[in-house]
């Protein structure tokens, strides 16, 4: 697409580094990649103090792969900067795509998180109730920390995102394929998720073992029952997110004999992964009696944590309602 070798950059925000590992997992193939592009920085480009990045020409980076969600002021600022410097901004991995597992923090408010981490743990000795400060004077030495935001956000809730590579982490195969697509001469439609667009069942090795008419009278937790290594997990009563989750990982977790937890996110036709699996599973209950219905649904111990394992910030509601704190300017009525 560009005469000289495209310049590719990696950056990460609130993530675990697993996505970068996924890149390393290209293993030998990494050498081919290196041949095709200039990795101008990995994991980060030149020393980019604000002013340095600002001094870069807009769009001087061909594509930035950014993983991790946005939780701190610094991450937010960097996202904006990189956006302005990159022709393409690609959200890499569940965290920047949908918020990821750390996005579950949106079920709590920042204060309770800080207290939980720095004051309440049994092993923590902190009688003074000290909490990390964004700006602190240690006998005259002024020290700074980035601001810890109230809410975890996916990348596209902070800046415009051109493409998404799903997964926690994306499999090397997914990543390589995505890279291929981006290097190809016809770019997909803006906003595309660079992975297959049907649900995981499509490529699940156990697809054929699913009954014609799956219905539920109880949901099982893995420690309650031995898991058959051949049979469809939903058919066994284990809550598998496969039907509501984008394909592309080749059902790794299922091959590991555990249910899919949904890290590739929803398909392009779905706006809220959790709502969809909820709709699907609930409708497939057998009972017509309200109490029985509640009993069966009660065997799903943690609906939000299960249905939105990777996608809470990217969901329609984004986070738990904060008491008293308006999440958006009050709408005129």
């Amino acid at each position: 697409m560009i005469p000289c070798k495209p310049k590719v950059a990696f950056y990460w925000c609130a993530s675990c580094g697993g996505c970068e590992e996924a890149v390393v997992d290209l293993a030998e193939a990494i050498l081919d990649v290196v041949a095709k592009v200039d990795i101008v920085f990995w994991p980060v480009a030149m020393d980019f103090k604000r002013k340095d990045i600002e001094s870069m020409a807009a769009g001087s980076i061909t594509a930035t792969f950014l993983n991790g969600s946005i939780r701190t002021s610094e991450q937010e600022e960097m996202a904006h900067l990189l956006r302005s410097k990159s022709q393409l901004l690609v959200a890499l991995g569940s965290c920047s795509h949908l918020g990821g597992i750390p996005g579950l923090a949106n079920l709590f408010d920042r204060t309770s998180i800080l207290r939980e981490v720095y004051i309440q743990p049994p092993s923590t000795v902190n009688t003074g109730g000290t909490l990390p400060q964004a700006h602190y004077q240690d006998n005259g030495h002024s020290l700074e920390l980035p601001v810890f935001h109230e809410t975890v956000r996916s990348l596209d809730q902070v800046v415009d995102v051109d493409y998404y590579i799903p997964g926690c982490p994306p499999t090397p195969k997914t990543f390589a394929a995505a890279l291929q697509t981006l290097l190809s001469h016809q770019l997909p439609e803006k906003g595309s998720v660079l992975a297959p667009d049907c649900a995981l069942c499509d490529e699940c090795p156990r697809k054929d073992t699913k009954p014609e008419k799956p219905v539920f009278s109880e949901f099982k937790r893995p420690q309650q029952m031995l898991v058959d290594e051949q049979k469809c997990l939903l058919a066994q009563g284990f809550l598998c997110m496969g039907p509501a989750t984008r394909a592309g990982c080749e059902a790794l977790c299922v091959r590991g004999n555990m249910p899919c937890t949904g890290c590739y996110g929803p398909t392009s036709r779905v706006r809220d992964q959790g709502a969809k699996i909820l709709s699907c599973l609930a409708a497939l209950l057998e009972s017509k009696d309200e109490q029985e219905i509640d009993r069966v649904l009660g065997t799903i111990p943690d609906p939000v944590g299960t249905f939105y394992r990777y996608a809470l910030p990217g969901s329609l509601l984004r986070r738990k309602k904060l008491d008293g704190v308006p999440q958006a300017p009050l709408a005129p009525r």
Partner: protein, 519 residues
């Protein structure tokens, strides 16, 4: 939430900086691996008027709050949720969580399950240690601390040891990770851990693969030790660097040991030795709260661990300070040997060369890591050879009502503690997580300050300084907030020397390809 205004850090902005420099009457150097917050050390160095380093701070500016948001989640999901704390050592968290579940549900996995767990774990350790040596820490030595930074990376290593070896390294890592995926579902964030066992049994085909790779892994480990000996130990400059006071701290050491006090990653008692190397305490996982405490500093998001009964005495070393260290060097110091023959040899060589136990030289971590690499490979081989491995009885179903569970393993970067309390339904009510690098945080902070004090004086900062200070904390293979590593040579660094009014006098900048600019 009005009270947030006190606790809450205001947004970092130019204004904030300006304010900072106004109140700061001293010259202020920032060595900042910059905005890559995840697992990043940020180093603040303050010079006095004479230009001598007065204080250096090692800051971790990252927090995600796992302890809070796991509340309400089903305990059995913890192995998968907590593995997201770190994508580099997910298997360590996965394993610690899984062991915590055994304890929570009071179930003892069947023999095969235990073997599978330890096999996967050893494979993971081998892979992770290899990664660190070749991709991260090793280059400092293999290529040389003072070599142009551009060469100090995996490609540099490959150049130095030859493309064949290079490929060998990459292939080895891939095959090890493929094995983790084969048995555990995924290499990054595996899914095999369940209370009372593992999700999937090992087929005889899989066992064969493990056996093959294990053999190669042992050779590979020996080869790597060889390499280390030739490139590092045979180079007196390196040795003196390792032994130099700049990289030396006399602290307590902690590690997990088996019944014969030999290093064990998967299971055993926690052993702590004094700076003199005497056994100070040996305790079971469930007792960790009696011995380990965490200290909070307002200027870092990481908590600093110390020995409870010795107490927090600030960033000071010696018998009187509760600060201790974990990770390879600490494990070797805290143990009486290795459980496998070849590793035991390497162990002896290690201590005899470095003048007996305990070894206080931070940089010796690299060597210790290779000793462990060999052990992990040998352990793989043992387990892979065991006929019981393929037994398909791999689960014990819990019957007890869950309440509380603690699980501890040795992560590559040190002792890792998961502690959960749940309701009757097994939903997490409270979780306490002490991740490997927290144990080291205090010592890393000291190392950095010490190095800075040794190496910097006045406004003119020699180029070598940057990497050497970097080496000080890279030796720990730090995974702050247990996130990730920084790649050598590509770690952009900045030293800015400001005068009293906060204006920059000179800036020293090194970009990713290692070239250093002065502007």
């Amino acid at each position: 939430m009005p009270d947030q205004n006190q606790e809450a850090p205001p947004s970092i902005s130019q204004g904030g900086n300006a304010q900072a420099s106004n109140v700061s009457v001293r010259t202020h150097i920032t060595i900042d691996p910059i905005t890559r917050l995840e697992g990043h050390g940020k180093i603040e160095i303050f010079l006095d008027d004479a230009g001598a380093v007065q204080r250096a701070y090692f800051q971790v500016p990252e927090l995600r709050g796992f302890e809070k948001f796991v509340q309400g989640r089903p305990a059995e999901e913890m192995p998968q949720i907590t593995s997201r704390i770190c994508g580099v050592c997910p298997t360590a968290h996965h394993m610690a969580a899984t062991k915590a579940l055994d304890d929570l549900y009071k179930v003892d996995p069947p023999p095969a399950a235990k073997m599978i767990r330890e096999l996967i774990y050893s494979t993971f350790i081998a892979e992770d240690h290899a990664l660190h040596f070749y991709f991260l820490g090793g280059p400092d030595f293999v290529v040389g601390p003072n070599a142009p930074a551009a060469d100090r990376n995996v490609l540099g290593v490959i150049a130095k040891v030859g493309i064949e070896t290079g490929k060998k390294v990459i292939t080895m890592r891939r095959r090890l990770r493929e094995l983790v995926a084969l048995a555990g579902g995924k290499a990054a964030h595996p899914v095999f851990g369940l209370p009372g066992g593992v999700a999937k049994h090992i087929t005889s085909e899989a066992q064969k693969q493990f056996q093959e790779v294990a053999d190669e892994a042992v050779d590979f480990a020996q080869f790597t030790l060889q390499l280390f000996e030739e490139v590092v130990l045979k180079n007196s400059d390196y040795v003196s660097l390792i032994l130099s006071d700049a990289y030396t701290h006399r602290t307590y050491y902690m590690g997990m040991v088996d019944s014969q006090n030999r290093v064990n990653f998967y299971d055993g008692l926690i052993r702590v030795v004094t700076p003199e190397g005497k056994e100070w305490k040996k305790f079971a996982s469930q007792k960790y709260l009696e011995h380990i405490a965490e200290h909070v500093e307002p200027w870092s998001y990481v908590k600093f661990c110390y020995l409870k009964s010795v107490g927090w005495k600030g960033f000071t070393e010696g018998e009187g300070s509760g600060i201790y260290s974990v990770a390879p060097l600490a494990r070797l110091n805290a143990s009486d040997g290795m459980a496998t023959p070849l590793a035991q040899k390497a162990y002896d060589a290690f201590f005899s060369t470095l003048g007996g136990k305990p070894v206080h030289h931070t940089l010796a971590n690299h060597w210790a890591r290779l000793v462990e690499l060999l052990y992990a490979a040998e352990r793989m081989k043992e387990l892979a050879a065991d006929p019981e491995l393929t037994d398909d009885n791999i689960r014990v179903l819990p019957t007890e009502k869950p309440k509380e569970g603690i699980g501890i393993v040795e992560a590559p970067r040190g002792t890792l503690i998961h502690h959960y309390q749940t309701d009757e339904n097994g939903l997490i009510e409270k979780a306490n997580l002490i991740v490997a690098t927290q144990n080291n945080a205090a010592r890393i902070a000291m190392s950095v300050e010490k190095a800075a004090k040794k190496l910097i004086s006045g406004a003119n900062v020699p180029e070598g300084v940057l990497n050497q200070i970097e080496m000080a904390f890279r030796a720990y293979d730090p995974c702050n907030g247990c996130a990730t590593h920084s790649l050598p040579g590509s770690m952009p660094l900045l030293v800015r020397v400001r005068n009293q009014s906060g204006n920059t006098l000179t800036t020293l900048r090194r970009d990713c390809n290692g070239s250093v600019h002065r502007d």
